[in-house]
Protein backbone atom coordinates (compact mmCIF):
# COMPACT_ATOMS: atom_id res chain seq x y z
CA UNK A 1 0.00 0.00 0.00
CA UNK A 2 2.76 2.32 0.97
CA UNK A 3 4.60 1.41 -2.18
CA UNK A 4 1.59 2.09 -4.35
CA UNK A 5 0.87 5.44 -2.87
CA UNK A 6 4.54 6.33 -3.07
CA UNK A 7 4.84 5.51 -6.73
CA UNK A 8 1.54 7.24 -7.33
CA UNK A 9 2.81 10.39 -5.72
CA UNK A 10 6.04 10.17 -7.71
CA UNK A 11 4.01 9.99 -10.89
CA UNK A 12 1.93 12.88 -9.69
CA UNK A 13 5.02 14.84 -8.77
CA UNK A 14 6.71 14.12 -12.08
CA UNK A 15 3.67 14.96 -14.11
CA UNK A 16 2.96 18.11 -12.16
CA UNK A 17 6.62 19.11 -12.44
CA UNK A 18 6.49 18.61 -16.18
CA UNK A 19 3.33 20.58 -16.36
CA UNK A 20 4.66 23.49 -14.37
CA UNK A 21 8.19 23.58 -15.60
CA UNK A 22 7.87 23.09 -19.29
CA UNK A 23 4.99 25.18 -20.53
CA UNK A 24 2.86 28.07 -19.51
CA UNK A 25 -0.19 26.93 -17.61
CA UNK A 26 -3.03 26.22 -19.99
CA UNK A 27 -5.99 28.15 -18.68
CA UNK A 28 -8.45 26.04 -20.62
CA UNK A 29 -7.29 22.94 -18.76
CA UNK A 30 -6.24 24.28 -15.38
CA UNK A 31 -8.73 24.23 -12.59
CA UNK A 32 -9.41 27.78 -11.65
CA UNK A 33 -11.37 28.80 -8.61
CA UNK A 34 -12.79 32.28 -8.43
CA UNK A 35 -12.75 33.71 -4.94
CA UNK A 36 -14.72 36.94 -4.53
CA UNK A 37 -14.10 37.76 -8.18
CA UNK A 38 -15.86 37.32 -11.51
CA UNK A 39 -13.83 35.26 -13.91
CA UNK A 40 -13.90 34.09 -17.50
CA UNK A 41 -11.40 32.39 -19.78
CA UNK A 42 -11.36 34.22 -23.09
CA UNK A 43 -9.43 34.69 -26.24
CA UNK A 44 -7.86 38.11 -26.53
CA UNK A 45 -6.14 38.47 -29.87
CA UNK A 46 -4.25 35.21 -30.17
CA UNK A 47 -3.85 34.72 -26.45
CA UNK A 48 -5.94 32.72 -24.07
CA UNK A 49 -6.45 34.95 -21.11
CA UNK A 50 -8.17 34.86 -17.78
CA UNK A 51 -10.30 37.95 -17.31
CA UNK A 52 -10.89 38.91 -13.70
CA UNK A 53 -12.89 41.60 -11.91
CA UNK A 54 -13.50 42.00 -8.21
CA UNK A 55 -16.89 41.13 -6.79
CA UNK A 56 -18.30 44.61 -6.31
CA UNK A 57 -20.01 43.65 -3.07
CA UNK A 58 -16.60 43.30 -1.40
CA UNK A 59 -16.03 46.80 -0.14
CA UNK A 60 -12.75 46.38 1.69
CA UNK A 61 -9.40 46.41 -0.13
CA UNK A 62 -6.51 43.92 0.00
CA UNK A 63 -8.95 41.04 0.42
CA UNK A 64 -8.71 37.50 -1.00
CA UNK A 65 -10.09 38.65 -4.33
CA UNK A 66 -8.35 36.36 -6.77
CA UNK A 67 -8.55 33.44 -9.13
CA UNK A 68 -6.80 30.58 -7.44
CA UNK A 69 -5.07 27.82 -9.35
CA UNK A 70 -6.14 24.52 -7.95
CA UNK A 71 -3.58 21.89 -7.10
CA UNK A 72 -0.55 24.12 -6.85
CA UNK A 73 1.56 24.20 -3.77
CA UNK A 74 4.27 26.81 -4.02
CA UNK A 75 6.91 27.81 -1.51
CA UNK A 76 10.09 29.01 -3.22
CA UNK A 77 10.69 29.65 -6.89
CA UNK A 78 9.33 32.01 -9.45
CA UNK A 79 5.91 32.99 -10.74
CA UNK A 80 5.74 34.72 -14.08
CA UNK A 81 2.61 36.14 -15.61
CA UNK A 82 1.71 38.83 -18.09
CA UNK A 83 -0.93 41.20 -16.82
CA UNK A 84 -2.95 43.94 -18.42
CA UNK A 85 -5.20 46.25 -16.52
CA UNK A 86 -8.15 48.32 -17.71
CA UNK A 87 -10.50 50.37 -15.61
CA UNK A 88 -14.09 49.23 -15.46
CA UNK A 89 -16.64 51.76 -16.74
CA UNK A 90 -17.98 52.20 -13.24
CA UNK A 91 -14.57 52.26 -11.55
CA UNK A 92 -14.50 54.70 -8.65
CA UNK A 93 -12.15 57.63 -8.82
CA UNK A 94 -9.54 56.09 -6.58
CA UNK A 95 -9.15 53.03 -8.81
CA UNK A 96 -5.56 52.50 -9.83
CA UNK A 97 -5.80 49.46 -12.02
CA UNK A 98 -4.76 47.20 -9.11
CA UNK A 99 -3.51 43.90 -10.50
CA UNK A 100 -1.03 41.32 -9.30
CA UNK A 101 -0.24 37.92 -7.90
CA UNK A 102 -1.13 36.34 -4.57
CA UNK A 103 1.01 33.51 -3.25
CA UNK A 104 1.44 31.36 -0.16
CA UNK A 105 -2.35 31.21 -0.05
CA UNK A 106 -3.66 28.97 2.72
CA UNK A 107 -6.19 26.33 1.71
CA UNK A 108 -9.07 28.23 3.24
CA UNK A 109 -7.84 31.57 1.83
CA UNK A 110 -7.47 32.91 5.33
CA UNK A 111 -3.86 33.96 4.80
CA UNK A 112 -1.78 34.92 1.81
CA UNK A 113 0.85 37.33 0.54
CA UNK A 114 0.55 39.47 -2.53
CA UNK A 115 2.47 41.80 -4.79
CA UNK A 116 0.34 43.99 -6.98
CA UNK A 117 0.82 47.07 -9.12
CA UNK A 118 -1.11 50.32 -9.60
CA UNK A 119 -0.62 51.08 -13.28
CA UNK A 120 -2.33 54.49 -13.19
CA UNK A 121 0.31 55.70 -10.75
CA UNK A 122 3.33 54.91 -12.90
CA UNK A 123 3.19 58.12 -14.91
CA UNK A 124 1.18 60.32 -12.56
CA UNK A 125 2.16 63.96 -12.07
CA UNK A 126 2.65 63.27 -8.41
CA UNK A 127 5.79 61.64 -7.06
CA UNK A 128 4.05 60.20 -4.00
CA UNK A 129 1.64 58.34 -6.23
CA UNK A 130 4.48 57.19 -8.45
CA UNK A 131 6.22 55.81 -5.38
CA UNK A 132 3.08 53.78 -4.77
CA UNK A 133 3.19 52.02 -8.14
CA UNK A 134 4.10 48.66 -6.60
CA UNK A 135 2.72 47.23 -3.38
CA UNK A 136 3.40 44.23 -1.20
CA UNK A 137 0.92 43.17 1.47
CA UNK A 138 0.09 40.12 3.58
CA UNK A 139 -3.45 39.16 4.42
CA UNK A 140 -5.03 39.58 6.89
CA UNK A 141 -2.65 41.40 9.22
CA UNK A 142 -0.47 43.53 6.96
CA UNK A 143 -2.65 45.34 4.47
CA UNK A 144 -1.22 48.34 2.68
CA UNK A 145 -2.45 51.08 5.04
CA UNK A 146 -0.75 49.46 7.99
CA UNK A 147 2.51 48.81 6.15
CA UNK A 148 2.52 52.32 4.75
CA UNK A 149 1.94 53.80 8.17
CA UNK A 150 4.33 51.66 10.15
CA UNK A 151 7.11 51.25 7.58
CA UNK A 152 6.74 53.91 4.91
CA UNK A 153 8.56 53.28 1.60
CA UNK A 154 9.61 49.78 2.61
CA UNK A 155 6.94 47.69 0.94
CA UNK A 156 6.19 50.00 -1.98
CA UNK A 157 8.07 51.33 -4.91
CA UNK A 158 8.01 53.06 -8.25
CA UNK A 159 8.34 51.62 -11.72
CA UNK A 160 7.22 52.90 -15.06
CA UNK A 161 3.91 51.32 -16.07
CA UNK A 162 0.53 52.19 -17.51
CA UNK A 163 -3.00 50.94 -18.04
CA UNK A 164 -3.93 49.02 -21.19
CA UNK A 165 -0.48 47.60 -21.74
CA UNK A 166 0.89 44.13 -21.14
CA UNK A 167 3.25 44.11 -18.21
CA UNK A 168 5.31 41.07 -17.38
CA UNK A 169 5.49 40.37 -13.68
CA UNK A 170 8.00 37.91 -12.34
CA UNK A 171 8.02 37.25 -8.64
CA UNK A 172 10.98 35.35 -7.27
CA UNK A 173 10.47 33.97 -3.78
CA UNK A 174 13.28 32.62 -1.67
CA UNK A 175 12.53 31.96 1.97
CA UNK A 176 11.38 35.22 3.43
CA UNK A 177 12.55 37.27 0.47
CA UNK A 178 10.53 38.18 -2.59
CA UNK A 179 11.65 40.23 -5.57
CA UNK A 180 9.48 41.60 -8.31
CA UNK A 181 10.97 41.94 -11.78
CA UNK A 182 8.98 43.85 -14.38
CA UNK A 183 9.21 43.42 -18.14
CA UNK A 184 12.34 41.25 -18.00
CA UNK A 185 14.43 43.96 -16.40
CA UNK A 186 17.64 42.68 -14.94
CA UNK A 187 17.14 44.62 -11.73
CA UNK A 188 14.17 44.07 -9.44
CA UNK A 189 11.64 46.85 -9.03
CA UNK A 190 10.64 45.75 -5.54
CA UNK A 191 12.60 43.87 -2.90
CA UNK A 192 10.89 42.55 0.23
CA UNK A 193 13.29 40.95 2.67
CA UNK A 194 10.85 40.01 5.40
CA UNK A 195 7.80 38.34 3.96
CA UNK A 196 5.21 38.34 6.70
CA UNK A 197 4.17 34.76 6.09
CA UNK A 198 7.35 33.60 4.34
CA UNK A 199 8.87 30.15 4.50
CA UNK A 200 5.59 28.41 3.94
CA UNK A 201 3.91 26.91 0.98
CA UNK A 202 0.52 27.63 -0.40
CA UNK A 203 -1.54 28.39 -3.43
CA UNK A 204 -1.16 30.98 -6.16
CA UNK A 205 -3.81 33.44 -7.23
CA UNK A 206 -4.41 36.05 -9.90
CA UNK A 207 -5.32 39.13 -7.92
CA UNK A 208 -7.31 42.25 -8.73
CA UNK A 209 -8.87 44.94 -6.61
CA UNK A 210 -11.60 47.50 -7.03
CA UNK A 211 -12.23 49.04 -10.42
CA UNK A 212 -9.97 46.71 -12.39
CA UNK A 213 -10.81 44.67 -15.42
CA UNK A 214 -7.74 42.49 -15.32
CA UNK A 215 -6.28 40.15 -17.92
CA UNK A 216 -3.72 37.45 -17.19
CA UNK A 217 -1.80 35.27 -19.60
CA UNK A 218 1.40 33.21 -19.93
CA UNK A 219 1.45 32.08 -16.35
CA UNK A 220 4.53 30.05 -15.54
CA UNK A 221 5.44 28.65 -12.20
CA UNK A 222 8.91 27.34 -11.49
CA UNK A 223 9.61 25.65 -8.21
Amino acid sequence: MLKTSLSFSIILLTSSLCAVLAQPIDFTKATLAANKVYMSVEKLGKKMVVKVAKDSTVKEVDEPTFVKLQGIDFKDGSIEVNVLSKLLPNAPEFSRGFIGVAFHIKDDNSKFECIYIRPTNGRADDQVRRNHSIQYFAYPDYKFPRLRKESPEKYESYADMGLNEWIKMKIVVNGTQAKLFLNDHKEPSLVVNDLKLGNQSGGIGLFVDIGTEGYFTNLKITK
Binding site: D125, N131, V192
Partner: protein
Protein backbone atom coordinates in the same frame (compact mmCIF):
# COMPACT_ATOMS: atom_id res chain seq x y z
CA UNK B 1 56.65 93.29 -23.53
CA UNK B 2 57.65 90.09 -21.77
CA UNK B 3 57.82 92.05 -18.56
CA UNK B 4 54.26 93.28 -18.96
CA UNK B 5 53.08 89.73 -19.59
CA UNK B 6 54.86 88.55 -16.50
CA UNK B 7 53.28 91.30 -14.41
CA UNK B 8 49.90 90.45 -15.86
CA UNK B 9 50.33 86.82 -14.94
CA UNK B 10 51.38 87.80 -11.45
CA UNK B 11 48.37 90.09 -11.05
CA UNK B 12 45.95 87.49 -12.35
CA UNK B 13 47.56 84.87 -10.13
CA UNK B 14 47.13 87.07 -7.10
CA UNK B 15 43.49 87.69 -7.98
CA UNK B 16 42.97 83.95 -8.20
CA UNK B 17 44.58 83.32 -4.84
CA UNK B 18 42.64 86.12 -3.19
CA UNK B 19 39.23 84.62 -3.87
CA UNK B 20 38.64 84.50 -7.59
CA UNK B 21 37.02 81.21 -8.39
CA UNK B 22 38.88 78.74 -10.54
CA UNK B 23 37.58 78.32 -14.04
CA UNK B 24 37.87 75.28 -16.26
CA UNK B 25 37.04 75.03 -19.92
CA UNK B 26 35.66 71.89 -21.49
CA UNK B 27 35.16 72.26 -25.24
CA UNK B 28 33.04 75.40 -25.64
CA UNK B 29 31.83 75.55 -22.06
CA UNK B 30 33.52 77.21 -19.13
CA UNK B 31 32.77 76.18 -15.57
CA UNK B 32 33.43 78.13 -12.42
CA UNK B 33 34.19 76.00 -9.38
CA UNK B 34 32.20 76.81 -6.26
CA UNK B 35 33.51 74.93 -3.24
CA UNK B 36 34.67 72.03 -5.37
CA UNK B 37 38.08 71.08 -6.65
CA UNK B 38 38.30 70.04 -10.24
CA UNK B 39 40.14 69.46 -13.44
CA UNK B 40 39.59 68.58 -17.05
CA UNK B 41 40.87 65.09 -17.65
CA UNK B 42 40.71 62.38 -20.22
CA UNK B 43 38.42 59.64 -19.00
CA UNK B 44 37.56 56.59 -21.08
CA UNK B 45 38.97 58.40 -24.10
CA UNK B 46 36.89 61.57 -23.69
CA UNK B 47 37.54 64.97 -22.18
CA UNK B 48 35.44 65.30 -19.05
CA UNK B 49 35.03 67.63 -16.12
CA UNK B 50 36.05 65.98 -12.87
CA UNK B 51 34.94 67.54 -9.58
CA UNK B 52 34.98 66.72 -5.89
CA UNK B 53 33.59 68.66 -2.99
CA UNK B 54 36.21 70.86 -1.32
CA UNK B 55 35.90 70.03 2.36
CA UNK B 56 38.37 72.75 3.30
CA UNK B 57 36.37 75.47 1.66
CA UNK B 58 33.11 74.11 3.00
CA UNK B 59 33.60 71.79 5.97
CA UNK B 60 31.34 68.83 6.68
CA UNK B 61 30.12 68.11 10.20
CA UNK B 62 28.96 64.58 10.91
CA UNK B 63 26.97 65.84 13.89
CA UNK B 64 25.25 68.43 11.80
CA UNK B 65 24.67 66.67 8.55
CA UNK B 66 21.79 68.56 7.10
CA UNK B 67 23.40 71.91 7.77
CA UNK B 68 26.61 70.92 6.05
CA UNK B 69 25.33 69.13 2.95
CA UNK B 70 23.14 70.27 0.03
CA UNK B 71 25.22 73.47 0.00
CA UNK B 72 26.65 75.42 -2.93
CA UNK B 73 29.37 72.95 -3.93
CA UNK B 74 29.17 72.69 -7.68
CA UNK B 75 30.64 73.73 -11.03
CA UNK B 76 28.69 76.62 -12.49
CA UNK B 77 28.23 76.97 -16.22
CA UNK B 78 29.59 80.41 -17.10
CA UNK B 79 27.61 82.78 -19.30
CA UNK B 80 24.13 81.44 -18.69
CA UNK B 81 22.28 83.27 -15.97
CA UNK B 82 18.69 83.19 -17.18
CA UNK B 83 17.58 79.59 -17.10
CA UNK B 84 13.94 79.46 -16.07
CA UNK B 85 12.20 76.78 -18.14
CA UNK B 86 13.65 74.28 -20.56
CA UNK B 87 15.83 71.21 -20.69
CA UNK B 88 19.13 70.37 -19.04
CA UNK B 89 20.88 67.19 -20.08
CA UNK B 90 24.21 65.83 -18.99
CA UNK B 91 26.08 62.57 -18.71
CA UNK B 92 27.48 61.86 -15.29
CA UNK B 93 29.54 59.14 -13.66
CA UNK B 94 29.90 58.75 -9.93
CA UNK B 95 32.68 57.05 -8.08
CA UNK B 96 33.31 56.96 -4.34
CA UNK B 97 36.46 58.38 -2.85
CA UNK B 98 38.81 55.89 -1.25
CA UNK B 99 39.07 56.12 1.68
CA UNK B 100 35.56 57.35 2.32
CA UNK B 101 35.44 60.63 4.22
CA UNK B 102 32.27 59.45 5.94
CA UNK B 103 30.45 56.08 5.80
CA UNK B 104 27.06 57.50 4.85
CA UNK B 105 28.10 58.61 1.37
CA UNK B 106 26.03 57.46 -1.58
CA UNK B 107 27.74 58.86 -4.65
CA UNK B 108 25.68 62.07 -4.62
CA UNK B 109 25.72 63.58 -8.09
CA UNK B 110 23.35 65.77 -10.05
CA UNK B 111 22.34 69.17 -11.30
CA UNK B 112 21.65 72.57 -9.78
CA UNK B 113 19.46 75.03 -11.66
CA UNK B 114 17.82 78.42 -11.27
CA UNK B 115 20.89 79.30 -9.20
CA UNK B 116 20.88 82.82 -7.83
CA UNK B 117 23.93 84.87 -8.72
CA UNK B 118 25.27 84.90 -5.17
CA UNK B 119 24.54 81.18 -4.58
CA UNK B 120 21.92 82.03 -1.97
CA UNK B 121 19.17 80.00 -3.67
CA UNK B 122 18.83 77.18 -6.19
CA UNK B 123 16.85 74.09 -7.11
CA UNK B 124 18.39 70.65 -7.51
CA UNK B 125 17.72 67.11 -8.55
CA UNK B 126 20.42 64.64 -7.69
CA UNK B 127 20.85 60.91 -7.44
CA UNK B 128 22.41 58.50 -4.96
CA UNK B 129 23.81 55.84 -7.27
CA UNK B 130 25.07 53.69 -4.42
CA UNK B 131 21.53 52.79 -3.37
CA UNK B 132 19.99 52.43 -6.82
CA UNK B 133 20.27 48.66 -6.77
CA UNK B 134 20.78 47.90 -3.12
CA UNK B 135 18.75 45.12 -1.52
CA UNK B 136 16.80 47.35 0.83
CA UNK B 137 13.67 48.81 -0.67
CA UNK B 138 13.61 51.84 1.61
CA UNK B 139 17.09 52.86 0.43
CA UNK B 140 16.26 52.18 -3.20
CA UNK B 141 13.34 54.54 -2.84
CA UNK B 142 15.84 57.24 -1.93
CA UNK B 143 17.90 56.95 -5.11
CA UNK B 144 16.61 60.29 -6.41
CA UNK B 145 16.31 63.52 -4.43
CA UNK B 146 14.88 66.95 -5.09
CA UNK B 147 15.95 69.83 -2.87
CA UNK B 148 15.46 73.58 -2.85
CA UNK B 149 18.21 75.61 -1.28
CA UNK B 150 18.35 76.96 1.36
CA UNK B 151 15.09 76.12 3.09
CA UNK B 152 14.21 72.66 1.76
CA UNK B 153 17.19 70.34 2.09
CA UNK B 154 16.75 66.57 2.08
CA UNK B 155 16.07 65.97 5.74
CA UNK B 156 13.66 68.88 6.10
CA UNK B 157 11.73 67.50 3.13
CA UNK B 158 11.68 64.01 4.64
CA UNK B 159 10.32 65.39 7.89
CA UNK B 160 7.86 67.92 6.49
CA UNK B 161 6.13 66.05 3.68
CA UNK B 162 4.56 62.62 3.20
CA UNK B 163 7.23 59.98 2.55
CA UNK B 164 8.29 59.89 -1.07
CA UNK B 165 7.11 63.40 -1.93
CA UNK B 166 10.52 64.54 -3.12
CA UNK B 167 12.37 61.25 -3.48
CA UNK B 168 12.10 58.20 -5.66
CA UNK B 169 13.87 55.27 -7.21
CA UNK B 170 15.69 55.16 -10.52
CA UNK B 171 17.94 52.78 -12.42
CA UNK B 172 21.25 54.26 -11.34
CA UNK B 173 24.49 52.77 -10.05
CA UNK B 174 28.02 53.79 -9.19
CA UNK B 175 30.73 53.64 -11.84
CA UNK B 176 28.51 53.78 -14.84
CA UNK B 177 27.50 56.63 -17.10
CA UNK B 178 24.09 57.99 -16.25
CA UNK B 179 22.39 60.31 -18.66
CA UNK B 180 20.20 62.70 -16.73
CA UNK B 181 17.71 64.97 -18.47
CA UNK B 182 15.68 67.44 -16.48
CA UNK B 183 12.72 69.14 -18.06
CA UNK B 184 11.82 72.25 -16.10
CA UNK B 185 8.43 73.79 -16.64
CA UNK B 186 7.09 76.36 -14.21
CA UNK B 187 6.55 74.64 -10.89
CA UNK B 188 7.32 71.17 -12.19
CA UNK B 189 10.52 69.35 -13.05
CA UNK B 190 10.70 65.91 -14.57
CA UNK B 191 13.80 63.77 -14.66
CA UNK B 192 14.54 61.19 -17.32
CA UNK B 193 17.31 58.63 -16.99
CA UNK B 194 19.15 57.18 -19.97
CA UNK B 195 16.61 58.41 -22.51
CA UNK B 196 13.83 56.24 -21.17
CA UNK B 197 10.49 57.10 -22.71
CA UNK B 198 8.86 58.10 -19.44
CA UNK B 199 10.31 60.18 -16.67
CA UNK B 200 11.68 58.34 -13.66
CA UNK B 201 10.91 61.17 -11.28
CA UNK B 202 8.64 64.17 -11.11
CA UNK B 203 8.55 67.18 -8.85
CA UNK B 204 5.04 68.46 -9.18
CA UNK B 205 5.61 71.51 -7.04
CA UNK B 206 9.06 72.96 -6.72
CA UNK B 207 9.66 74.94 -3.57
CA UNK B 208 12.08 77.67 -4.59
CA UNK B 209 11.13 81.32 -4.59
CA UNK B 210 13.91 82.14 -7.00
CA UNK B 211 12.64 81.23 -10.46
CA UNK B 212 15.49 82.09 -12.79
CA UNK B 213 19.25 81.71 -12.71
CA UNK B 214 22.28 79.67 -13.55
CA UNK B 215 22.92 75.98 -14.09
CA UNK B 216 25.56 73.88 -12.35
CA UNK B 217 26.92 70.39 -11.90
CA UNK B 218 26.83 69.10 -8.38
CA UNK B 219 28.64 66.59 -6.21
CA UNK B 220 28.53 66.18 -2.44
CA UNK B 221 30.75 64.56 0.11
CA UNK B 222 32.63 61.44 -0.93
CA UNK B 223 31.89 61.64 -4.65
CA UNK B 224 34.37 61.84 -7.47
CA UNK B 225 32.08 63.11 -10.20
CA UNK B 226 32.75 63.06 -13.92
CA UNK B 227 30.59 65.04 -16.33
CA UNK B 228 30.36 65.44 -20.07
CA UNK B 229 27.99 66.55 -22.83
CA UNK B 230 26.12 69.17 -20.83
CA UNK B 231 23.42 70.75 -22.94
CA UNK B 232 21.10 73.46 -21.72
CA UNK B 233 18.09 74.46 -23.82
CA UNK B 234 16.03 77.35 -22.65
CA UNK B 235 12.32 77.12 -23.41
CA UNK B 236 9.00 78.79 -22.86
CA UNK B 237 6.55 77.84 -20.14
CA UNK B 238 4.25 75.14 -21.45
CA UNK B 239 0.71 74.75 -20.25
CA UNK B 240 -0.17 71.35 -18.88
CA UNK B 241 -3.25 69.72 -20.25
CA UNK B 242 -4.00 66.98 -17.74
CA UNK B 243 -5.42 67.76 -14.38
CA UNK B 244 -5.96 64.44 -12.74
CA UNK B 245 -7.27 64.53 -9.24
CA UNK B 246 -4.75 63.39 -6.71
CA UNK B 247 -5.36 61.42 -3.60
CA UNK B 248 -3.47 59.13 -1.35
CA UNK B 249 -3.83 55.65 -2.86
Amino acid sequence: MKKIQLILILVLGTLYVSGQKQKLTLKKQTFELHNVTGSIIEFEGKQVLKIERDLKALPFDVNNIEKTVDEPHYARLVGLEDFENGIIEVKMYSQLQDPLPYPGVAGFIGVYFRIKEDDSAFESIYVRPKVGRVNKQLFRNHAVQYISYPHAKFDTLRKSYPPGSYEGSAPVALKEWIKMRIEVNGETAEMFINDMKYSSFIVDKMLGKHKIGGVGLYVDIGTIGYFKDLKVTRGQLKKKSTNEKVDDI
